[in-house]
């Protein structure tokens, strides 16, 4: 392609969401993605079949190269098997990210972290957006466009922000979850928590060549049907537009301002050489931490401590005693079934946001490693407990995180390094304990018993929600344009001024769509 009008750095959910409105108006877009084109996902038998064992079950459950045996620490179980060689350390090494006391996960694969995300997609309301220079109304068309394009399922008429957007019918819940929701509905007035079906970016009806979820339960081991949204799946559709081109294997290291626009310096992972790409306008969507490094480098902001927002995460395990000793279901949904919200009290209207998973759809080995029993004992317990188990992940707003990033110059000709130090606010443990008690108490009163001792705070960054570094209204304008670098935009998590406890991906995509739309209007004029 001749020089593109816009370069989009990153083909993850944000970069893709920003590209669509541009491409729809015929603007020439070159997408640079670090992922190298790779083979399609291996079809995998349903979880029920894998669990009856077969001689080859280990290939699917652990990977041909047995990478499921890695000790990846306290991270999402999906990362154990789905994260290949392009995840984690190679991402950090090539992006010059040096974490200390914080997990910074990223992927150099097409689709980025949407290969391993949990797909929960709540929308932010005006209260969530109170620190932003825009309102929910500004994001509305972005949310609607994204929801329409990627397909969300769920909702039950509950008045929630995401109910305003096109939703496919909700996928069935497990019996435990149905029972819980029913009992909750009867007692809700007396409870502090709010519980509802999750809204997930998972299809319940076929759409755009992707198949509807068939409840085979193996979500933690990947979705070869494409039911769970993965932005890599959108590339062929984008590429069918003549004004769109993808340059794969391009890891952007540096962006330089030039008289005619920007020179984007990339490392070509295929050839091992450096390459440059030029355009007047650049949209950065390399992932919050990587994009931050690039922008701070461009602006020459070395040696400066910049706060990084994350949403501290707490795990809790529960048991529904009425489901003990039930046969393990053959079908089920392995991602979040129910979402819950609980106010944190205090001056602001901050809340914690949780997701409840069906424990029966997780890996028994993953559960066993966290039990304070011998492995033999844990095996005996898990066999009876799994059908009754529900696992919760509860997020806290970014006000409770205390992470810092700092850009340091490289030695000689080496690129700049971004050091990332993680930490929590001192008041987090007390707040988390209170929230845990309230959740345990309320859920206990509707028949879901909290397993004492199962509450665990994850290290910073384990949940992979990053933001706040180049916030709208501070380093960026309300249109996400970098202050001091016209025509450079940041549309991933780095642009979010503050992270409420809700998972931010859907909102990041809506914002990226908004910025792409406004930019398209600007460029066409």
């Amino acid at each position: 392609m001749t020089e593109p009008d816009v370069i989009v750095v990153g083909g993850g959910p944000a970069g893709t969401a920003a590209s669509w409105p541009l491409v729809a108006r015929g603007i020439r877009v070159l997408m640079l993605d670090a992922g190298i084109a790779s083979a399609a996902a291996d079809p995998r038998p349903p979880l029920a079949a894998l669990r009856r064992g077969g001689d080859d079950a280990w290939r699917h459950m652990l990977g041909k190269d047995l990478r499921g045996l890695r000790d990846v620490g306290d991270v999402s179980p999906k990362l154990r098997i789905l994260a290949g060689e392009d995840f984690g350390e190679p991402y950090r090494a090539l992006n010059r990210i040096f974490p200390e006391g914080i997990d910074v996960m990223g992927a150099l694969a097409a689709g980025g972290l949407s290969n391993v995300w949990g797909a929960v997609s709540p929308a932010f309301d005006d209260d969530d957006l109170r620190e932003w220079p825009i309102t929910a109304a500004d994001l509305a068309s972005g949310y609607a466009a994204v929801a329409d394009r990627i397909g969300l399922n769920g909702g039950d008429g509950d008045p929630r922000p995401e109910s305003a957007y096109p939703l496919q019918p909700a996928l069935p819940l497990s019996m435990k979850a149905e029972r819980l929701l029913e009992r909750y509905d009867r007692r809700r007035a007396r409870l502090d928590i709010r519980l509802a079906r999750s809204v997930n970016a998972v299809l319940s009806a076929d759409k755009s060549g992707r198949s509807a979820c068939n409840l085979d339960g193996g979500c933690m081991w990947g979705c070869p049907r494409g039911s769970i949204y993965n932005s890599a799946g959108e590339i062929p559709a984008l590429a069918s537009h003549p004004c769109f081109a993808l340059a794969a294997g391009q890891l952007v290291e540096r962006i330089e301002a030039a008289p005619a626009g920007f020179v984007v310096h990339a490392f070509d992972r295929g050839t091992g050489q450096s390459r440059t790409h030029t355009a007047k306008t650049v949209l950065l969507a390399a992932g919050a931490v990587a994009s931050t490094r690039i922008v701070l480098d461009l602006l020459g902001r070395y040696g400066e401590d910049v706060p990084l927002a994350t949403t501290p995460a707490l795990a809790m395990a529960f048991c529904d005693p009425r489901a003990l000793g039930q046969p393990l279901p053959d079908k089920g949904f392995g991602l979040a079934q129910l979402s819950l919200k609980v106010d944190l009290g205090g001056a602001s209207s901050e809340y914690a946001y949780g997701e409840l998973y069906d424990g029966a759809m997780l890996s028994a080995a993953d559960l066993i490693r966290h039990m304070p029993l011998t492995h033999r004992g844990a095996m005996a317990v898990i066999r009876r407990l799994m059908p009754a188990l529900m696992v919760g992940f509860v997020f806290f707003p970014s006000g409770f995180s205390r992470n810092i990033v700092r850009l340091e110059r490289g030695n000689g000709t080496e690129p700049a390094r971004l050091s990332v130090r993680g930490g929590y606010a001192p008041e987090l443990s007390a707040t988390a304990r209170r929230a845990r008690s309230r959740i345990a108490g309320d859920l206990g009163s509707v028949g879901l018993l909290y397993l004492p001792g199962s509450g665990r705070l994850y290290p910073p960054g384990a949940e992979s929600h990053f933001g706040g570094t180049l916030a709208m209204g501070r380093a960026l304008s309300a249109e996400c344009e970098v202050v001091g670098a016209n025509n450079l935009f940041v549309v991933d998590g780095a642009a979010l001024p503050h992270l409420p406890a809700k998972p931010p991906t859907f909102t990041i995509m809506a914002n990226a769509s908004r910025v792409g739309t406004r930019l398209a209007e600007r460029l066409r004029v």
Partner: protein, 442 residues
Amino acid sequence: MRASDGAGGADPDILNHSPRHIVITGGAGYIGQRLVAKALARGLRVTVLGRSPMAGEAAAGGRVRWRQWSLNDPVPADAFMGGGEFPPADAVVHLAHQWVSRAPEDADENLIALDRLLEATRRQGVRRFVYCSSVSAKPDALNRYGRVKWRNEQKLKVPAEIAARVGLVYGGPERGQWGLLCRLVRLGPVLPMVGAGRPVQPIHVDDACEGLLRLAGIADPSRAVFVLAAPDPVPFGRFLGMIAGQRFGRRLFVLPLPAAMGWAALAVAPANIGERICGLLGMTVSECRDDLAGFGLVLRNLRSGLVERAAARRRLLAEGRVLVQYLLGIRPSPALMRRYALGVLRHGNGCPLVLPLVTHRWPALLRLIEPAAGGSQPAEPEGLRERLDMATRLIEATPEGAAALYDHAGTGPVAAASAILLTVVGEIVLYPVRLILGGRFR
């Protein structure tokens, strides 16, 4: 320049003066033999100065030649010259050292030998001279070895002549001091030892050779002395225990003896041993992180370095059998054992556990020694818990394991609740036993 290998990225300028013809003294020794092999594997031509001809000289296809030399002799005239297919020497690595000397210290053979070598290399204009020194090198070292090494270091003129202070070398064939340590740890289950608490900085022989080769090619050394040793010291007694465990699969208890006994032993020990005891008792820690980073050398992990891969695989197969038999009560198939060994080698740290012998016969006893969970980060590297996690993942993906973990028929709430209760009660009873026994097997 690419950091993708995770090794810290060496500055390419440092490495682009690689020598083409390297002269090695002491090439028949423990380190020397490995160094010669590595240099040949790199495509270098090697001249070995030593007392006896190299075995396998012919086998190296004419790329290695030998010149007769001992520390008491003048340097052969053509040692550094080109000839035939050999260009003139562009680097010398001086490893040869005589531990026992009858001469007075001022006339030590090692001092005289270095004078001779330096004079010859300076006359010939050899670009680089690397003197293999030691972390014991100090003007006031307790052993003559350290004092002599230090005095030799003072003669070197930067930038052409530099010293490598090598730490405690281990790994590879059991020769030299390393061979001595290997024999020591196999003497019995208990080893009384002086200086058990002294800090040593081990370095694998292959890493040491890599470091020496890089120093031979370094373009512009900023200083005269580089340290090739582990950045984090290990107490000597613990190091001996690790050798016993990782290399020989045995438990070793090191009984620390007071230093005074070491001094007393000097009176009766042979000179060789006496020197080493003094060296150990006088050992201090040398700072070396910057040196290693400066030429991009990342030392292998000590535990994995001590393990020999072939022996490790055999022991891991046995370990897999024991762990799976504990978890499932049945012997694993050979394929499952192989997957376990491969998993540990590829994704774990590759080091076999040292499990008590009784558990090989009665794997169920492992239940008594499973470490009580610490909850968060393990302070020790991969231990029994982590290996059991791996084994559990592996059996989850087998028919027998899946049958044990997943109940597709259901037993009803009462049976399930009682089974859980019974198991938990049993675990509570077991807990104090595990607290006592398990701490030793993490």
